[in-house]
Symmetry: C2
Amino acid sequence: MTIPHPTGVHPAWLPPAAFRAAGSRRVLVLADEPTTAHGHTPAEGTAPTQGAAPADGAALVATVRAEVAEACGRHGGAVAALGQACDLVLALTSARALPPAAEAVRGPEIGPEGFLLGRQDGVTVVLADDPAGLLYGWFEVVRQGEAAFGPAGDHAPEAAPPAEPHRPELEPTEPHPPALEPTEPHRPAQRPAEPHRPAQRPAERHRPALKRRMLDHWDNIDVHPVMGQVERGYSGGSIFWRDGARCADLTRVRAYGRLLAASGINAVTVNNVNVHATEARLLTDRLGEVAAIAAELRPYGIRVHLSVNFASPIQLGGLPSADPLDESVREWWARTTERVYETIPDFGGYVVKADSEGQPGPFAYGRSHADGANTLADALAPHGGVVHWRAFVYNHRQDWRDRATDRARAAHDHFAPLDGQFRDNAILQVKHGPMDFQTREPVSPVIGAMPGTRLAVELQVTQEYTGQQRHVCYLPPMWSEVLGFRFRSEDTVADVATELVAVSNAGDDPYWTGHPLAQANLYAFGRLAWAPRSDPAAILDEWIGLTFPEAGEALRSTLHTMMDGSWRTYERYTAPLGVGFMVRPGHHYGPDVDGYEYTPWGTYHFADRDGIGVDRTRATGTGFTGQYPEPWSEVYESLAECPDELLLFFHHVPYEHVLRSGVTVVQHIYDTHFAGAEEAAALRPLWEKLAGEVDPALHARVKERLDEQIRCAEEWRDQVNTYFLRKSGVPDARGRRVY
Amino acid sequence: MTIPHPTGVHPAWLPPAAFRAAGSRRVLVLADEPTTAHGHTPAEGTAPTQGAAPADGAALVATVRAEVAEACGRHGGAVAALGQACDLVLALTSARALPPAAEAVRGPEIGPEGFLLGRQDGVTVVLADDPAGLLYGWFEVVRQGEAAFGPAGDHAPEAAPPAEPHRPELEPTEPHPPALEPTEPHRPAQRPAEPHRPAQRPAERHRPALKRRMLDHWDNIDVHPVMGQVERGYSGGSIFWRDGARCADLTRVRAYGRLLAASGINAVTVNNVNVHATEARLLTDRLGEVAAIAAELRPYGIRVHLSVNFASPIQLGGLPSADPLDESVREWWARTTERVYETIPDFGGYVVKADSEGQPGPFAYGRSHADGANTLADALAPHGGVVHWRAFVYNHRQDWRDRATDRARAAHDHFAPLDGQFRDNAILQVKHGPMDFQTREPVSPVIGAMPGTRLAVELQVTQEYTGQQRHVCYLPPMWSEVLGFRFRSEDTVADVATELVAVSNAGDDPYWTGHPLAQANLYAFGRLAWAPRSDPAAILDEWIGLTFPEAGEALRSTLHTMMDGSWRTYERYTAPLGVGFMVRPGHHYGPDVDGYEYTPWGTYHFADRDGIGVDRTRATGTGFTGQYPEPWSEVYESLAECPDELLLFFHHVPYEHVLRSGVTVVQHIYDTHFAGAEEAAALRPLWEKLAGEVDPALHARVKERLDEQIRCAEEWRDQVNTYFLRKSGVPDARGRRVY
């Protein structure tokens, strides 16, 4: 196991310097025994242990050892042996012998992928039940940096053990304590002085809130003539495929897996949910390409999943039908899946977009989506695999004249009646909003309507509708609102969901994500999937600290200022008050107020000379509000109670309607669009001041993107304002320039 | 020389049956002597005779002989020798001996490509000064069919000679008179009975009004990722190139040349004016492909031209500059052009789109477009070639907020000051309207502003903005209006223009043009280029008669009903009152009222809640009306005098503005959109009745296109009406359904 460092690629949140604190210590890894616990999430299904190759646990331990060895080699630390003095112990609870500090930290159940992190007698201890937990614990120590060896600080434990008496600092006679001497290679002089270094800290228990934390890649093997190689990809080509073949050098894939593991991700779907002819064959004769990718991701605890075409039995199997209840179809899936597991024993499972935007599905055979999902689930169950079945089913050939049909209703209409009918290893994957990853949507009512179904909530890290990685748009504040939304009881969306899934924003761009600052979205998605209640601002700081480890306070606070509120800034200068879309059809970038107004896509705002918005009330509209339980069905139904930011999603109102904020709708449109464009423009001088603080190439890349963002924000401001001035005739109360 | 009959390809207006009348006669061709007159339009430039290969005249004569032989072989006629009895003489005036009938028809000057057509002593005579005239005369006889051997009928001579006494009918003892017996192969029984067949008719003189009648192909060698192989092509791929190489079998190219010759075309540009990297090389190392195409078109009197990239000296020549006044650039063009003529001695010349929509041009070097055009003209002049220099130069990155900039002004602003500065063999190619081939535009003021410049007026046979060969839209009524427009004096556009050029609508579709009825546009363009004063309705009848020679009256009259007014029908259901655009950006098909409203393309309608239209007056607008001479500058400037159909092109008016027709603008919008969609819907039952009258495959193809036209017309109706109801708030006075 070698740690991947692809050349010419930005290290993102794992630059060598991020390993300085841990790498300058004496580190003991105790996981010598072959472990029965495997390195992956326990799989659903009838035979959970079959899903993991016996070597997985050992592979993960090897990764931890290699990580430790590289970090210590680079930063002057040392790999310690049992019995030698050490500063950091990474140990499996199953290890035959643990040093006293580790024994002292040992507590009750830790659980899959989890770990305890504590400090005893001047030794920082990570204890895990399984190798995956050990790996996550290692990255947590890296993330905490010097703090892992010092005061608890902001790192509040999940359940605080009783306070323990203060113990003396690690002896200064030890060979590798953190020193103040500016001796290479670990350059501690550049670290802030840490006068107080407590010898112990209460053990924190870390474990993932969601068992599967997954990224869906929308990568194609072939370059699609319209959509390109990565559909909705804004970061160059695919890291998996190039020129119609698997990339010969997969170092970058392993580096990607490493980054994901350090953020908490444990599953990746490698190909686009729109499965074209070439990509369909990944399931059969091109399976070796998937296996090769899986081999690179496995050492970092990431399972590989595959998007498959529902019509595969016809396309690949030569059967006359793909009817999910047809016995020969079921057999085909069973046989095909068996062969997949022969090749990739820890294969994660399938992702299916069926009966959606032209993809084939069970409707063609008069079968339900539960029938469709269960057939694939049954094929996967013996091997411990799962099927992710997307709920993104709606009529994409709607007639704009037909105001009774409401795309927002579609997923609930289709899937809520099927609750309880899905197999345990069939996971319904629901987009977080009822439409399609708009900048502002209510939470999808499907999430609150299926207590008898395993749900994966799908977010979109790739910024399709949120600036396409040309605009700074830090999304976790939005995700955090979604995850914290409570349908009726104490349970939040994060509690209801079994999993969190997101469309990846990574590609073969040198910065991974096109816009270097968009890396923060990728990082934060993993962190939120691990701990959904985390504060997005704290995750942002964490990302800044890791990505720019040498950064001074100016860089940290400037980046925080630029990014923390960027989603709301983006919202201000784009479609107002939750109405959505207003983007250029096809590529979805930049403004076009009427772009989707007369299309078959079900995406309307109904602006006329008097007002705007979609009436989704039960009283006079499409009745969508009725898909929510109390109190939301009433809150959204009520013009008085509906939150301003979703007003036009639920109501059609006159331009002079006064918002809860006290201003009229049309004045709100003017105000927010002027404000949003100003906020965008304010980013440039902030960034320019950082010219000497970051790598010049990265600085130039961000600067170029900021220029485009500012131009585009002005375009949004002027098109939207002009559109509504022309339509409403109401001038801006503050007399600003509207064209 | 064999007559091309590619398999699987519709014969268009040259089905075998169209040759029945001529082919059932005894035909004498007298052109035995090598002729000094060559087969092509005399070329401009200093050495006109160099441009034509010595064999051209002979090749054209061979074509005529082959045509005659095939027609007679098929229909029972005979090729006669001098001294034998005959029914049709096709003779060059230079022939050593002419039969008495031909001598009797001989008159004064005929001129290049022209011919005299008369009937004397029961013999129909075509007399021409050059072989090209002979070929055109032959196709005129074919076109006239039996009428060429009977009464003058509708075929009014250009200059009527004195009436001559009626002579007796051709002797019935002759071996091949038109007979009534149903004897195969010429099936005369299906022809209408012709009881009266005069033995003579006054000689008609036919000669082309415009010396060059040209089609521009927008074909690419490579398939462009967005634009496809034929840019703006709606008829499949290219007939010249496939899979990145010249088509191996060029039979179809020769068949195309034959069709064009039969309609009057004598020049073809083989490649797209947007010259990409691969296509640029047609000028140099891929010149052989052009030569191969030229070899197929030459026998039908068609010269080949090439679109070239202005930056070729850099791209292909490796020079540091393409500055047209740089001596090394001029030398490069001279040398390169010399090599072209070594390969293709009758090469026509270059077509250049410079400083237009991203193409390179002389502006980069601070040079004028006259400088640019003249450099290429100087390289072509020694060989008799010409450069077509497109006047389509405008700022395609305009700011929609900037109401002072007016794209309609651009060509005049750029080119009118250059009048008189272009070489004699530099032809300024001007689109017929100031914008871009909209369904309704005023005539471009450039055409009236450049008396010292040779002008080619450019039409668009391919239906980019007029239904893309999915809608029936017979364009000659529009072209006829353009060609007959008088700027100030007696001179029409057709008189001012030296040439007529159009973008071809042909591709590798089995029907050539996607929509079988779109063949009529291709045919009629050639006919109008030959005789611009022709009645579009008469040309349509002519096309119907040729294309459906067995057709009964029902088919003829139905097609006439469907097609003659189809351009105005299309206008009714699309953008109103000359305002233009309102199409979907990118592909330009179907409605999107605001689609181009906030774009950089200079294509706006400025609709707000009060009114619509572009103020192009001198008084309060962009001043575009001032580019016209009197009386048009005043007519267009005046709200009272401006023709309704161009009102919104020139004026911004309230919705309640009353048109000259007596209805308000907004009511006109409703009325025309309901009417247009109804007219489209009325096409279906008309066509359905013809089910037994035409080939079933052709019937099905048209039916499928009609279905789409009707759907699309309803979409136009509803989107446009809804848009203006929402914006104006004015209901339809007749209470029809607006969504």
